[in-house]
């Protein structure tokens, strides 16, 4: 059951995911029209509450909201003092007083969107919290694979890189396994969480073994501070062992696609010429992000609360 909020893919079952993806397919058609705007959320207010900067995700939500005719307000908060829970909740209450119909939250600390959801009447959509989840990224990845491959059930999906610190990896692991894909994760042993296989995936410490026969290879962004010794000896070493290029990709299926949540570190986790052309679908992912976020806003924003439903 799709509830009030979207906090993580972990909360969804297969039917919920299929409903969102199906809705996104229709939203994609709206984006192809000459007038790319429908009046669905006219007079509704959506607040983008970003405690951590992110131009891409914020813009994608903003376009999605505007295509549904909602008023989208960007509220970027300086994150320095906001790891204190008091000020987060104060901010949330301030926003609540403005009666938004949905609040989109990004924060560097896991669990903050949930805290805010507990304090607000409006639905809260998690746009990425710490190393916890980034559900709309997983939804757009699922949607992209569905469009490219026609199915998700039975596919082999290899997620490569810094699995430990990646909310994208976590949301995708939930999403792809719930929809019946075989999920593999791979990376340097220092960046693989010890109990990751309990999430229903297979862990590899060899890139070649991980992508052997894969239909989808997903590279993750590696933060530069993790490339300075504690986890990985050097950028060069990481890129030689784990950076995707056309030569390494030979081990995957011939028709495998390459994905990346962006922004990419060119020449680190993915080679220049691979990032820019097929089989990479990085720009399709960005494009699909708008349709998927429209679907999420359609399903969650500005719904009548229980008890005030109009008669039909």
């Amino acid at each position: 059951m799709i509830g009030r909020d979207l906090l993580g893919i972990e909360d969804f079952d297969r039917a919920d995911l299929e409903r969102i993806l199906e809705t996104a397919a229709h939203m994609q058609e709206v984006g192809l029209r000459e007038v790319k705007r429908v009046p669905t959320l006219r007079g509704r207010t959506i607040i983008n509450l970003f405690f951590e900067s992110s131009t891409r995700t914020r813009t994608s939500f903003e376009i999605a909201g505007k295509r549904l005719s909602a008023d989208v307000i960007n509220f970027s908060a300086e994150s320095s003092s906001l790891s204190k829970s008091e000020s987060i909740l104060d901010t949330a209450r301030t926003l609540d007083a403005m009666a938004p119909d949905a609040v989109i939250v990004r924060h560097k600390v896991a669990g903050v969107p949930k805290r805010i959801a507990d304090a607000l009447d409006a639905p809260v959509i998690n746009a990425g919290d710490g190393a916890h989840e980034h559900p709309t990224q997983a939804l757009l990845d699922l949607f992209t694979v569905l469009q490219e491959k026609g199915r998700i059930d039975g596919l082999t999906v290899a997620i490569v890189g810094d699995i430990t610190h990646s909310r994208v990896a976590r949301s995708n692991i939930y999403g792809f396994t719930k929809l019946g894909a075989d999920v593999r994760v791979a990376g340097p042993p220092t960046l693989l969480p010890p109990a990751v296989e309990s999430l229903g995936v297979k862990a590899f410490t060899s890139l070649r073994e991980a992508i052997e026969g894969a239909d989808v290879v997903m590279a993750l962004r590696i933060q530069s501070e993790r490339l300075q010794g504690a986890y990985v000896p050097s950028v060069r070493e990481y890129s030689a062992m784990w950076g995707l290029d056309r030569a390494k990709l030979r081990y995957a299926r011939e028709d495998a696609i390459v994905m990346h949540p962006g922004p990419i570190n060119r020449g680190v986790e993915i080679a220049h010429d691979l990032a820019d052309r097929r089989p990479s679908v990085i720009l399709e992912q960005v494009r699909n992000g708008v349709a998927v976020r429209m679907a999420v806003l359609y399903l969650l924003a500005g719904r009548a609360q229980a008890g005030q439903e109009g008669a039909r």
Partner: protein, 181 residues
């Protein structure tokens, strides 16, 4: 269960008659564009297109236009209704668009369809076909071509039977009692 108001033969006759009325009213048949409101309008529009090909010798475009994103009751409902496909194979500019729905009632769906249509361009005219008009209009909207007027009580509903999920027109239209609640 319920009473039959249109059977298979009557539905087919109605669609032939409506095709003749459309031709009679629109000299410029080549300008017509049939746009179905899903799901019920789709098989009816296809059958009308076949009839118009036979009568007037023109193969007309048939579009499908989902009105869900244009509904006026979305924020009054707890659950959002599922979306249906929209497929508009040709431009609506300067076309005479004939909207095709199965059952006309409050007029709110037609209002939504007209708004949606205007986002695709500027048609020369918009006309409306409904297989059944059950009354209870809440907006100043007139149905141009009606298969059958079926006055109903609010406690009754119109049900189309047969060929569910196929492209064939329905076999039967019944009036049934609404479930309580």
């Amino acid at each position: 269960m319920g009473r039959v108001v249109l059977d298979d033969a009557a539905i087919r006759r109605a669609l032939v008659r409506i095709a003749h009325e459309v031709v009679e009213r629109n000299e410029d048949v080549a300008r017509l564009y049939l746009v179905a409101i899903p799901n019920g309008g789709v098989p009816l529009a296809r059958q009308l297109a076949a009839n118009l090909l036979e009568i007037a010798g023109h193969e007309l475009p048939v579009g499908v236009l989902d009105t869900t994103l244009y509904r006026d009751d979305l924020t009054r409902r707890g659950e959002r209704p599922p979306l249906r496909r929209t497929e508009m194979p040709s431009a609506v500019d300067e076309k005479i668009v004939v909207l095709v729905d199965d059952v006309a009632s409050t007029g709110r769906t037609i209002r939504a369809a007209m708004d949606a249509l205007m986002d695709f361009g500027r048609p020369r005219a918009v006309q409306v076909v409904a297989l059944v008009d059950r009354g209870h209009r809440e907006l100043p909207i007139r149905i141009d071509y009606v298969g059958k007027n079926v006055p109903t009580a609010a406690s009754e509903k119109i049900v189309l039977h047969g060929h569910r999920g196929t492209l064939e027109p329905p076999l039967e239209v019944r009036v049934e009692a609404r479930e309580q609640g």
